[in-house]
Amino acid sequence: MKELSYREMGISDSEYQLVLDIMKREPNYLELGMFAVMWSEHCGYKNSRPLLKNFPTEGPQVILGPGENAGVVDIGDNQGLVFKIESHNHPSAIEPYQGAATGVGGIVRDIFTMGARPIASLNSLRFGELTDVRVRELFSGVVAGIAGYGNCLGIPTVGGEVYFHPCYRGNPLVNAMCVGLVNRDEIALAVAGDVGSPIMIVGAKTGRDGIHGATFASEELSDSSAEKRPSVQVGDPFMEKLLIEACLELIAEDLVAGMQDLGAAGLTSSIAECASKDGRGVQVDVALVPRRELGMTPYEVMLSESQERMLIIPRSGCENRISEIFDKWNLDATVIGQVTGDGLFRVLEGEAVAGEVPVAALTESCPVYRRKGEEPPYYQELKSMDLTNICPADPAEAILKLLASPTIASKRWVYTQYDHQVMTNTAVVPGKGDAAVLRIKDTGKGVALTTDCNSRFVYLDPRIGGMLAVCEAARNLACVGAKPLALTNCLNFGNPEKPQIYWQMENSILGMAEAARALDTPVVSGNVSLYNETAAGAIYPTPVVGMVGLLENLDERCTMDFKTEGDIILLLGSLSPELGGSEYLYLCHGIEGGAVPQPDLKQEKQLIDVLQWLIKQGLIVSAHDISDGGLAVCLAESAIQGKVGFQVDLPVQDNQINGQLFSEAPGRAVVSVKPANLAKAQELAAKSGIAATVIGKVAGQDLIYHDKGKPVATLSLAEASKVWEETIACYMK
């Protein structure tokens, strides 16, 4: 392997000076490599750390906030839900199948490393437009990769979102979330334990794959990125499945002091993270690390990102039992070093010292950059765009166009490739509700899971867009009957060294923080993915929210489909004519602009509470929040899923019918009720300060939209279904 200069490793001149100051000598090649990966944005969060401090991270429901491999929230019965979302964008851009597959593998390891049984996966995906053949390759490769890995593990992939927009053409986003179930007293931590404890590595053998993957993830994509394909790892889900079962057996028997997965920056990072928590040192001998390639240097062994490896620090006296369990699962466990008390990270190759760096230098001394953002000129320009002179599109045509937009259309082509039912807990399957619902066996309760972000909103107004991403996630959970508990986020942005990108990042984080506070959904884990740029420019700022909620009684859950003819359709929240940032403007008028509708966080919280109460009391039979495509699409989706039509009559004012139909203003949901429960439902909503307006009823086999008694649009259910169901499959044929 050709030796890289420090600049090629991603270390700046001033950072190199800092390394010299710490080491008081020139670092050797191995030591330099260790600094480079640990100080990369991916591992060190050097650009984002000061901003992340804005997030609320505490609450009575939080068992463990940020700082560990994943966050944990309390769901009662001595159980916790462990969850986190993470990006694998750059690898997926170069090698979609393996990039996405190993993204799943990495996040699943983060969860069982905590001692939790992984119970569900979700994802959030962004691609360019499906008319582009390269995009279709990326899309099908990514979906197949997620399926190939997750299905083999036997962890159901139960939810997610997929958006298509030209800004992601060369830089798709692949964010994978995993959720695990843990007994509170069995939570495992990535700590080093006692001085003298052996350090074991278990799982796959170490190869040259993925060296400098963390660094690669922390720079912009370019034409030469394809040359970095060797930086993408190859996944072995079978090995990971064995690791899950073996590691959970270790936890059940209480055999480990510390456990850590090997992810970005491989051995270097996982060992440094364990040691730094307890102020310990470590000594490892690379000659003892099982390899699958000959002639690897200490540098290559320490930086390899070979997948499916775990670091185990046994409780003293438990080494033999640990070996027995790994033997049972046919896994190689090897002692490669021990914990020391001197605070140094010493790498040996046999007898010789190959490198020696203070642990704290790699972790705590990572430089932090407080950058200054700069408002981009587009912000005021697009925000103040005058939308009043737009010639309204024909509503029926517009509805069909929206239903045929791959971003809105059914994702059946995607989720039928994912095993979403294994583990026999999936009570609301993909496509049926605004969030996935899983039962927790032996308890009677359930959990709801969702991922959300409308990046166009975030682009147009980062602060409001950030708030809206949190609001939508919480609303989706409420629509299935769950109480939102906490969130994880994956912050995907362009190059933060550019002031206008930093401005997007700073403001969207502030918006998310504000909404998370208002809705009492603290941030317990997360991941930052920066440098999502190609020569064509940066992606839209895409801070994805993954949120979990609790249903105390699983029987009190709700789906989005209309149920029975004659049921009354209620709009919760108010009609709004605001079209800023809507999919309608984009699709029918080619406009991405206007003022993004501002959420009223107090109202949003009330709506979320009202939805839960209505569902708990059995007063409503369907619930679906208004988001992409507005009220018109929301109604159509409930009808398509329920295989039954509707008639609605909107009390529209001032010729704003298209506004009312297609506004994506937040704080709103469409529910259906039995006529006998109407009065009660309306009363309950009114008491909480939420408008509940009757807008029509479930009926027939057509989707009929009226404006004060005047027909506006009529579509046959069959036609709408066909368009919505088949769009993506048609592109992918």
Binding site: A147, N151, T424, A427
Partner: protein
């Protein structure tokens, strides 16, 4: 009745089958580790779904060499009830307990969705709780469920009533539109000639409880229990 769920490295529906038998049907159930070469005291065996040994070579191809398999084969030869679901079906084919082989789905994609099945033979230990020609809804989740055998074997299967489940439409229509994976003669599940070994690609354990959206799979396990009861009486 006592059921055993065989666990291979990479099995991932083992806990689901265990739950369906133990908690839903209320029967005794134990896991059988693939290294065990003796199986005693069981009334029925379940070979669950999953990706045994990663299925890297060919589905079920490595699992059939597991130490437990000679014992499973013995158990079946002596008339014990054996049900193989999904990967379990693939293993039964590789082990020669059932005829034929699996090809990749015609679409070359993994497919997870509910499908309709027609109960073509209800006089088996696995289907006696269904009406003949009943249409039931059971989910599939596989990448290689495209059943194939030679014409002579197919004729034999048909003659013996060994084709127990076939894919169909909601009203029991048989046709390519309702065949999710390209399976020969729309086959979803077959028994051996003696009728005591069943392989099926759909997952009855995933639809044995209302909370999971359907209970049509319940009858498969209930049939086994009923048959065992009668055999005992």
């Amino acid at each position: 009745m006592k059921f055993g769920v065989v666990v291979f490295p990479g099995s991932n529906c083992d806990a689901d089958c265990f739950h369906a038998v133990k908690n839903v049907q209320g029967q005794d159930c134990e896991y059988i580790w693939h290294q065990q070469s003796k199986i005693t005291g069981f009334d029925a065996l379940v070979l669950p779904g999953g990706f045994s040994y990663g299925d890297y070579l060919r589905t079920g191809a490595i699992a059939r060499f597991s130490p437990v398999m000679p014992a499973v084969i013995d158990f079946a030869r002596q008339g014990g009830l054996v049900i193989g679901i999904c990967n379990g079906f693939q293993i039964l084919l590789e082990a020669g307990l059932l005829p034929g082989a699996m090809l990749r789905n015609k679409s070359l994609m993994f497919i997870c969705k509910p499908v309709n099945l027609k109960v073509l033979n209800n006089r088996t230990p696995f289907t006696n709780q269904f009406n003949k020609d009943a249409v039931i809804e059971v989910p599939i989740a596989h990448g290689e469920g495209n059943y194939y055998c030679d014409p002579a074997t197919l004729e034999e299967l048909q003659k013996n009533g060994s084709i127990v489940f076939s894919y169909c439409g909601p009203a029991g229509e048989i046709g390519d539109d309702y065949n999710p994976n390209g399976s020969l003669s729309h086959i979803a599940g077959i028994t051996n000639k003696e009728g005591n070994v069943l392989g099926m690609m759909p997952h009855p354990e995933r639809c044995s409880e209302t909370v999971l959206g359907g209970t049509d799979g319940f009858g498969v396990f209930a049939s086994m229990i009923q048959w065992l009861k009668e055999a005992r009486a």
